[in-house]
Symmetry: C2
């Protein structure tokens, strides 16, 4: 009986070499083999490897870092899966690391939920898992728990990844979207719009030949540099879907202020500007995966920008605008842009869809 | 200009009354409206409502409950979305609550990651969110962070939900799959196979007319009752995908023991037995969403079963088997079943797929 089962198992494996099958989601032997041989082995660490239903993490280590846990979740459905500068795996790790980092937290532990479409090549899955592991190592986080589901061909598009994460926020640190004040200035940590322009160019139908790369990377070290020179950061958020315009609109509305941007100061690569002009897009709405927008007291801004510029990837960090009170009658709560031509125009959130499945 | 935008926004809303559109995933205004008016309002609580990129949770409250954090993740792709006894929302909350509870942890906080297919009726989404909220309240957990993505029609099947969760494990509690010992007994907390049989019957093509309900519910209170009467539980896991057979095989292999089940003692409803006989299935492989399997020292078993039987839903809690040493030469490491006819047969994990998308 044992021999018969071993044979069946081998047969199943030889059919499964190339692609994910429904058996990989069944809860049976094929699933266990996939989980142990591909996923756990890719991420191997003391928390994940015991394969219990839950990771068990010492609270003592967390208490030494601060007094509050930051917790966040993000699902990734980017199309295409792989693009210059990253893939869905690097995106999934860095996206959640950055959502934690925006509270000033030290990112610590991530979970990985995979939804796989029947027929996904195993080699694609392996490349993505190995990107996740590299990104986690680079960000200093550990993937401690996971789950894998398989759906029929046509019921998902190749692979969707959810990452959830926790980190610890240092004592006394309070960064909130509603804390922008009259006189504050706006800082961005580098080139704007790289990720959105890259995905757009990669979609293929545009036949663009631009030299574009996603800016996907972890931001908590840059946040630490910012906080070292500016301990009272008022607002901080990464400018992903919806771009700078959306984040700044959220800050302005939550804080009941006007934010005035200086178009000439916003760093946009020539290649990204080119894609935008070609397609009639505004770089302020393009998604970023390695950019934050900070609103800080003016007195600390230059020191913070100088510190950021010394970090690889943040060489173009800049002050790009300032905050005004809305106490004066008739002042607009929201974001306005002083254009390079000297005019001023209002910036609002997108009404419809600019680009689905950007992350 | 403001007026024009408001009109556009209203137009977008009137088009969006019935269904999810790609604009709901754009990062723009339609997405914010969906998140604020449907999702945050469904779950409203002090952690989620500020709509920061991460929830911020006090560590002090966690420290008072134990010394380790339990962390887990699960994605849900069940088909059909709604079934007797629950829906994908109840499943998503209870599944993660139960994965936490199996370490003995008090479940505390959940995240909710939604992947929505363009065209999903808003009413369906509302029903599912309201199920999640009810299930979270019933389990005493709070949904503190969320994310929503929308994909094109045909790139997902209506809705997939990821829930990740954390809880706190009391000091000195150590429950592990590798801790089963010679002489231990096996406890299950009630009827076996209800969820799997229900989904199978609901798939429609079988035209079954059985009176079946999913057993989907939170288990941490039953785990507490078990631990109160049996503080040294050796192994504990909920028997979801792959059923009792898979969990017990994992225990046997991790602990290097033989587990002998008494078929006559395993509680299976007549309706479930009927579906199994009709389809040639074994209830031991059917998924459960409200059943755990515990391996405990024999001396505590009866007291634990008696305590469980007093809890609603666990009236059929039973001792269903025992653990034997494999030191005797030739003893099988794994699970065997003493049938009602007096014979004994080996039980192994499933090789292929029994039923995809059961959870």
């Amino acid at each position: 009986m044992l021999n018969k089962q071993e044979n069946e198992s081998n047969d199943a494996q030889s059919n499964d070499v190339a692609c994910i099958t429904l058996a990989h989601g069944s809860g049976g032997k094929a699933m266990r083999d996939l989980v142990e041989n591909e996923i756990v082995s890719a991420f191997a660490n003391e928390y994940l490897t015991p394969l219990e239903d839950q990771a068990r993490l010492p609270l003592s280590a967390m208490n030494s870092l601060g007094d509050r846990l930051a917790m966040t979740t993000d699902s990734f459905v980017v199309d295409p899966l792989e693009f210059p500068g990253g893939d869905i795996g690097t995106l999934a790790v860095n996206g959640t690391v950055n959502d934690l980092a925006m509270s000033g937290a030290t990112p610590l532990y991530l979970t990985c939920g995979l939804i796989l479409e029947e027929g996904l090549p195993l080699d694609t899955l392996r490349r993505i898992l190995s990107s996740m592991k590299r990104a986690a190592d680079l960000a200093g986080v550990t993937i401690v728990s996971g789950d894998t589901k398989v759906v029929h061909r046509g019921a998902a598009d190749k692979i969707f990844i959810n990452t959830s994460g926790i980190g610890v926020i240092p004592k006394h640190l309070e960064i909130n979207a509603n804390a922008a004040q009259d006189g504050d200035v706006v800082i961005v940590n580098g080139w704007v719009g790289d990720h959105g322009a890259t995905i757009m160019a990669e979609r293929g139908e545009l036949q663009l030949d631009a030299d574009l790369y996603s800016d996907c990377r972890p931001l908590h070290r840059e946040v630490n540099a910012l906080l070292a020179h500016c301990p009272d950061v008022h607002c901080l958020r990464d400018a992903t879907r919806g771009g700078l315009a959306t984040v700044l609109t959220e800050f302005a509305e939550s804080s009941n202020v006007k934010i005035v941007l200086d178009q000439a100061a916003i760093p946009v690569r020539d290649e990204v500007r080119g894609v935008c002009e070609l397609l009639g897009l505004d770089p302020l709405y393009l998604a970023n995966e390695g950019k934050f927008v900070a609103i800080v007291p003016a007195k600390h801004a230059q020191a913070a920008v100088n510190a950021l510029r010394k970090l690889p990837g943040a060489e173009q960090a800049s002050v790009i605008g300032h905050v005004e009170s809305t106490e004066t009658l008739g002042t607009y709560v929201g974001v306005s842009l002083k254009t390079t031509f000297g005019s001023e125009r209002m910036i609002d959130m997108l009404i419809g869809a600019q680009l689905p499945r950007i992350c």
